[in-house]
């Protein structure tokens, strides 16, 4: 960074004193449309994700929405499983895994998340497509903005904003549908029967999407996004990022075709500014890596297409690393990346195992909070426990509770005659476990309380607790 970025200023007053505004709008960015390999990659990675986002709620599994976050009942249905609030640690681990995946990917390839998959970018690109369809490419849009208001301008601008609002509304509907139930939501909205909260959130997300992808765009990435702030820290000299190969490009300048420019001491860069014009964050990549750069590869596509036209070799601007530009080789396997990958794999493995072996039956044992640890009545020592059974299965079950402990003791369990829990129900069952006083040889010993569904022996959960008796 050699030159200072010139700050714009505003002159006011009598010319004696000059003022600089401390708040100013960024210039509107007009992006030239470009096609190329990275644009294609974005399209083919983004489309499935978009389709998934929009259409997953419409798919029903087991007679209910496949992904449904039912906040009032605190049940989170994700495909074939139902999670409850007690699975919060799973969510926490999922987020930690996602964070580590971001670390690993960022160390390896820089801000590709931002450039290719981040909703902010994807939706911005969709909105730009709408602009292009209605108003034309870069030059036409600039002209249109300068032009006085007329029928054509109203129509073109109106079309753009209509498409924007449609996309925003669809986004909001899909998003709220995950919480409200998409079919109900659409029907309720159409018949004006929707819950006011649902209407509010649909309106809110429509507005937020419209503002975000329509007007804020790259400013979110520059000023608001926390990931953008700390992703820069993960770059090292071997991180793949979009670089301009200055050795090859300089000295830049226009030239006629078929002239031996190298003899005139010129580089491959013809200073056509396409890389600047296609940049969604309005930087000149030729100044080197900047914090705004989201590694979207648009300038790579732009430069490559120019290089093809000129008949030069591709890759004047390319995904490469600092190391490669200096020494000619990217050191791919480095301790930091290796460490991230190992930790990530370990966590993903553990997480999958945890989810796969999750029993839909959960029980929580609390010893009675009475003043005494145990009761003795008619020659038996009694301990009281409250077994809070949580049936997270999709079906109702009749449960039985039994005790496994010291094989020499004759345990007996007093419990309600029927323990019947509907799907998703939680019920605390008080039980009384007794051991004959003459048998009991421990002041304290461990027992396992086993809760099992009568109709499905697989649904079982076992919890260790302690049985306390008189001092021996």
């Amino acid at each position: 960074m050699s030159d200072l970025i010139p700050t714009r200023e505003e002159q006011e007053g009598n010319g004696e004193v000059r003022y600089r505004m401390l708040y100013e709008s960024d210039d509107k960015i007009y992006i030239r449309h470009i096609r190329g390999i990275y644009t294609r990659i974005r399209k083919y990675t983004g489309l499935p994700l978009l389709l998934a986002f929009f259409f997953i709620p419409w798919i029903n599994i087991d007679g209910r929405q496949s992904v449904f976050f039912d906040l009032p009942t605190r049940q989170f249905h994700i495909f074939w499983t139902t999670f409850g609030p007690q699975d919060g640690f799973l969510l926490a681990w999922l987020l930690i895994i996602a964070a580590f995946a971001l670390f690993a990917v960022t160390t390896w390839m820089g801000r590709v998340w931002c450039g290719f998959t981040c909703p902010q970018t994807v939706w911005t690109m969709m909105f730009m497509w709408a602009e292009r369809v209605c108003e034309g490419d870069r030059n036409k849009r600039m002209k249109l903005d300068k032009a006085p208001w007329g029928v054509e301008k109203v129509l073109r601008k109106g079309g753009t904003h209509a498409i924007w609002l449609l996309i925003s509304l669809a986004t909001a509907l899909a998003f709220v549908g995950y919480f409200y139930g998409i079919r109900d939501l659409v029907v309720d909205l159409a018949t004006f029967q929707a819950h006011p909260q649902g209407v509010f959130w649909v309106a809110f997300f429509t507005f937020a999407t419209y503002m975000n992808a329509g007007f804020l765009r790259e400013q979110v990435c520059k000023y608001m996004c926390p990931y953008a702030r700390f992703q820069s820290v993960m770059y090292d000299e071997d991180t793949l990022a979009v670089y301009y190969d200055a050795k090859r490009g300089e000295t830049r300048g226009p030239r006629k075709k078929n002239v031996d420019y190298k003899a005139e001491g010129m580089g491959d860069c013809i200073d056509c500014y396409w890389c600047v014009q296609v940049c969604p964050v309005d930087i000149d990549i030729r100044d080197g890596l900047q914090f705004e750069c989201i590694n979207c590869g648009l300038c790579v596509d732009a430069c490559n297409s120019v290089m093809d036209k000129m008949g030069y070799e591709r890759g004047l601007i390319r995904f490469t690393s600092e190391d490669e530009l200096q020494t000619g080789k990217t050191n791919f396997l480095r301790p930091r990346l290796f460490g991230y990958a190992v930790v990530l794999l370990a966590m993903v493995g553990l997480f999958s195992h945890q989810v796969a072996t999750r029993s839909p039956i959960e029980a929580e044992i609390t010893r009675d909070r009475g003043a005494r640890m145990f009761r003795v009545s008619r020659g038996v020592v009694q301990n009281v426990y409250t077994v809070k059974i949580n049936n997270m299965d999709q079906a109702a079950h009749e449960f039985t509770i039994r005790v496994e402990g010291n094989p020499n003791y004759d345990y007996s369990v007093r419990k309600p005659r029927s323990i019947y829990l509907k799907a998703g129900e939680i019920y605390p069952v008080p039980i009384r476990v007794s051991v004959p006083k003459t048998q009991l040889k421990d002041t304290k010993h461990d027992i396992d309380i086993v809760v099992q569904a009568v109709d499905d022996q697989e649904l079982v959960t076992k919890h260790r607790t302690v049985f306390i008796g008189p001092k021996q």
Partner: protein, 302 residues
């Protein structure tokens, strides 16, 4: 709030808003002597040789500030915040509480209302009702009677089919609604220390517990003169008085010799608090049904 404090709050609030607004607008721009001077281009902060530019903030940032100001003005108009001014919406935290209580009440009425006229025996047949009753019991009764309703020292066991005041639905409801005052008068002064010891042996003998035969025979005489008035000739108790059955080897205050002597000597007094004013009638009926059903649980040998 008195008028003075009300005015005080209003003045402070408005002065604060005005000050914040002034700060915001006064600092919108800064005079620059000369852009070429390097110290005007940076904030003067240097960390590890990295300097911070004094670049302008984005306009939307400023707009967000404005939005918060507009919001606060709107808030102060709609909601209470300006001293004694109640706000146009008439919202108050008490009102919100009452509204949510009314909502809960409505929900309860819907859920529990059907149990108001249902006989207790019938409620006890409904698993759903028993679950509700069990939850109400766990929240209100288990503290004394235990989670399993098995009682504690001085708190009766509700699961053993031995009732102090009777186990019919009517009696259970009566107990729940009005509470009970259990009272055994002290007999020490009446029958003397020797009488206490002898009577205790007799009570032990009634339950087949280890006792001194000679003393028990003496104790029986005392019992038949003094104690039988409440506990009955056969010592089987009297549910009209809440006098316990002394022959069933179930003990509210312990079965050791010392504990029985203590009971006879000093008496016992106990009380079950009335629930009528604490719980809704339909909830009490649910608990009654739950307690009624408890004596019908299974004991499972393993």
């Amino acid at each position: 709030m008195s008028t003075f404090w009300s005015v005080w709050v209003i003045v402070l609030t408005l002065a604060n808003l005005a000050l914040i607004t002034w700060v915001l607008f006064a600092n919108r721009k800064v005079a620059v002597d000369d852009q070429a001077e390097p110290e005007n281009k940076t904030t003067g902060h240097v960390y590890d040789g990295i300097e911070e530019y004094d670049n302008p903030l984005p306009k939307w940032w400023f707009m967000l500030f404005i939005a918060t100001l507009v919001f606060s003005v709107g808030y102060l108009v709609i909601y209470p915040g300006m001293g004694n001014f109640k706000g146009l919406s008439g919202w108050s935290s008490v009102g919100a509480l009452e509204a949510s209580q009314a909502k809960a009440q409505e929900k309860f009425d819907e859920q529990f209302g059907i149990y108001l006229d249902m006989p207790i025996e019938e409620i006890a047949q409904s698993p759903e009702a028993l679950k509700m009753g069990g939850r109400i019991f766990a929240n209100n009764c288990a503290v004394c009677h235990g989670a399993d309703a098995g009682g504690n020292f001085g708190f009766p066991n509700l699961t053993d089919n031995a009732w102090l005041y009777g186990g019919t639905p009517e009696k259970i409801l009566e107990t729940l609604n009005n509470g009970r005052q259990g009272m055994m008068p002290p007999q020490g002064p009446v029958i003397g220390e020797e009488g206490v010891r002898n009577t205790a042996e007799y009570v032990l003998s009634l339950n087949g517990l280890e006792h001194d035969k000679a003393m028990a025979a003496e104790g029986q005489k005392v019992f038949n003169t003094v104690c039988m008035a409440c506990h009955g000739m056969d010592a089987k108790g009297n549910q009209a008085l809440g006098a316990p059955n002394l022959t069933d080897d179930l003990w509210l205050y312990g079965s050791s010799r010392e504990q029985i002597q203590h009971t006879i000597r000093g008496g016992r007094s106990n009380m079950m608090p009335a629930q009528k004013d604490k719980l809704r009638e339909d909830k009490i009926r649910l608990v009654a049904a739950y307690v009624y059903s408890l004596s019908k649980q299974d004991e499972e040998q393993q």
